[in-house]
Amino acid sequence: MTESTVQVCVLDDVGHINLRGDRHSVDFITAVESVIGQSLPVAANTMSEKEHRVFWIGPDEWLITTVADNTLGLLADLDKKLASHHAAVNDVSGGNIELRLSGKNVRDVLAKGCTLDFHEIVFGPGTCAQSGLAKAAVLFGFVEAPHTFDIIVRRSFSDYLLRWLANAGCEYGIEFR
């Protein structure tokens, strides 16, 4: 029996909010930050983490992940606060599946299916990136040192991706929880 050095957990208590708005607008950023209580990352491939996790996913687009029960409240607060702005707030919780991968060989498994550089000096705290994993488009977020990552994938691809992970991770005794 191989010792498990990669663990995968499907997070089921999460809500996802897609936010679009003008990064050049100080008003917009202030309004958002006053609701979420943390910074809105404006640098590419970065994320902010406090009560929620906020991923930069485009120059005018963010993904906010939070506890499932908070989602509708946060959504309503953002809608209200941004009513006078050109912005778009959408609940996308149903569309995404979020996986948490941990263990010392996570980076090795990811390297089998993704062209991103997962070396620790490149992909560390505060980093997120969108790319492809195997044949699915995904969002990677670095969650915790040394090797814990979140992978957010569209719901319809999640079954495929889990099967791909099971295959790619078998040499590391991959476990699903």
Partner: protein, 93 residues
């Protein structure tokens, strides 16, 4: 496989992108004022240069932004990428 510089996300593998053809093709403001030939020129004709070529790429698996790339069609060397300017002046040129 190309290595393409997304102006936002940085250098990424070609598999993350989709191709958008020649950059700088401006949609005529008054299509109805054009002859069939003029409209067809906008619709179909491209410079198809040998050498430095400005083209559009979309970071499909990334930030979903369209941007410009200057690529040599002989050597495939990419000279650089650039954001498309905002406002009507942009035109992807």
């Amino acid at each position: 496989m190309f290595l393409i510089q997304c102006p936002w996300c940085g250098e990424r593998a070609e598999t993350e992108f989709s191709y958008g053809g020649e950059a700088g093709i401006v949609r005529p403001l008054e299509p109805d004022a054009l002859s069939d030939a003029e409209w067809a020129d906008y619709l179909f004709n491209r410079t198809n240069l040998r050498g430095a070529y400005k083209e559009l790429w979309n970071h499909a698996q990334g930030c979903r932004r369209w941007f410009g790339v200057e690529r040599d069609t002989v050597t495939y060397k990419i000279e650089g990428s650039y954001e498309l300017p905002s406002g009507r002046a942009g035109k992807g040129a």
